[in-house]
Amino acid sequence: MTLLSYAKAMNRALADALAADPAVCVFGEDVGAGLAGLTLGLQQRFGAERVVDTPLSEQAFTSAGIGAALAGMRPVIELQIPSLLFLVFEQLANQAHKFSLMTGGQARVPLTVVVPGSGSRSGWAGQHSDHPYALFAHVGIKTLVPATPTDAYGLLSSAIADDDPVVLFAPAGALGVREDVTVPLAPVPLGVARTHRPGTDVTVLSVGHLVYQALAVAEELADEVSVEVLDPRTLYPLDRAALLASLGRTGRLVVLDDSNRFAGFAAEALAIAGEEGRLLAPPRRVTRPDGAVLPFALGLDRALQPDAAQLRDAIRAVMK
């Protein structure tokens, strides 16, 4: 039995990509030391010219990644904090994402941005605890949130191979997960959801580390209700077919989503269900509050994130 951790799986995906393609390179802060795990040992193995320690100039090095991508490279950018995505929003949403269309298809920007440790890290407070995946999905940048080590490996591999910019969120709440890997690690295609547990009464669409919460609650309520746990894996482009197929089986929807509620991922899932699904009961969202800023004190931090009790309530509400 090989227990593979989530962090190690990402590290291995990056190592495999660096080994397979000389165009792959890495920019980020402290990537030589591998502080975030993602790049551990890779500078030693592939050299400081391919795994590049950058100054604290996120905007310029993200843009440099775009320039390198335009010149044929496949840069991977590591950002140490989820909110650094706000800092480079211009570079990602206004430059990387738009180059292909604006140039009439002359240019491609195969750039992968990875945030190892998104969402709350417990005790890092307001500016280090965001989970802003919905922003990228809204803008139209491919947005990935792997929940398991094998998905982390597979989605990061596919992101690096993709010809468009991709942002991958590795939730802090999943980084420590270990998985018994039985089959060889392999790419996971973008845009394909995964059913973690089949069920017939309620679809719980759950994102990232919350998949584990969904599975635990599903198990706990197993005598009472049959819960299908669906993991979109790719938030954008979303596997609408999988969502609608699941709703076709269950007719009920709860979305479990660790981001702000208003116009978030859960809102989109409910909108799709409303437009295209045939629901037996009003759908429910379990999310952060509107406009959430996570306070420092642990009890307050936890109070603003979706929890198992809220999920139970939501499941029971749609079953009423």
Binding site: Q59, I66, Q95, G105, P110
Partner: protein, 327 residues
Amino acid sequence: MSLPHLADRAGRYRAMRLIRSFEELALEWVRSGLIVGGTHPYIGQEAVAVGVCAALTADDQLTSTHRGHGHVLAKGADPGRLLAELAGRVDGLNRGRGGSMHAADFSLGILGANGIVGAGAPIAVGAAWAAQRQGRPRVVASFFGDGALNQGVLLEALNLASIWRAPVLFVCENNGYATTLPAGAAVGGSACGRAEAFGIPAETVDGMDVEAVRAAAQRLAERARAGGGPGFLECLTYRFEAHHTMERRFRLSYRTPQEVAAWRERDPLVSAAAALPPAEVASIDADVSQLLSLAAEFALASAEPDPATADDHLYASGLRPRSGAAL
């Protein structure tokens, strides 16, 4: 080998004349409505684009600005395809998707005009970094205005280029104004002082003198190509026209008529022409005029894109976005 069409004085004069006449034609097309949205005319600054590009090879690359027609033409883009782009036609450089502010020709190393001030500089640094890695003897020129000197990302880019010794030629076209704001009121210190503070050798040249620009650009480009790291060139220049064609609608007083007139006296085309036999100038002018007639014909003959293709090219991978219409 430097770009053949800019190899001698005649070629450089020709390129400047092409830019000038192209821009005059574009102004007409804006007035007549053939170009929608307007342009940022390059008129007056021709010596900068041509002088710098004369120091580049075909394999070299550049990033441009909102005021990009001059850079794009100087590097060798087809005027017919550029004009078609400005008119939003399918045969435009960007298939009508980019317009004035995003004109690009990747086959010629033109990585694009950019609608965001300062945004091209770090892209140039990344492209130059990649060239280093790939072992190509390539220089990337990055054009920007005096206004861009106050954009954080450009300042970050100067530092990155410096510590990476990236083969970038930073070209600051100091035309004295960012829209209505005088550079003197906006820029603490000096352009070259900033570059030097990041460890980048910097020179100021007369941006109305194409030969002076070329000579300085050549020095810095060759140094960069030889592995000596980035260079910074401040070109003192002036735009003869409005910031943007839309400005004509306003009564603005940020520049005195005297100031404009004084700079017009220093028209870079006039001095470049003076160095050539008058007959050669006349023949070049006639040539360019004919070239532009053909360009206009080409652009007008090109179709407008089919609205059904509006989101073509959104994703390089071929992903098609979901429509915005109701189901």
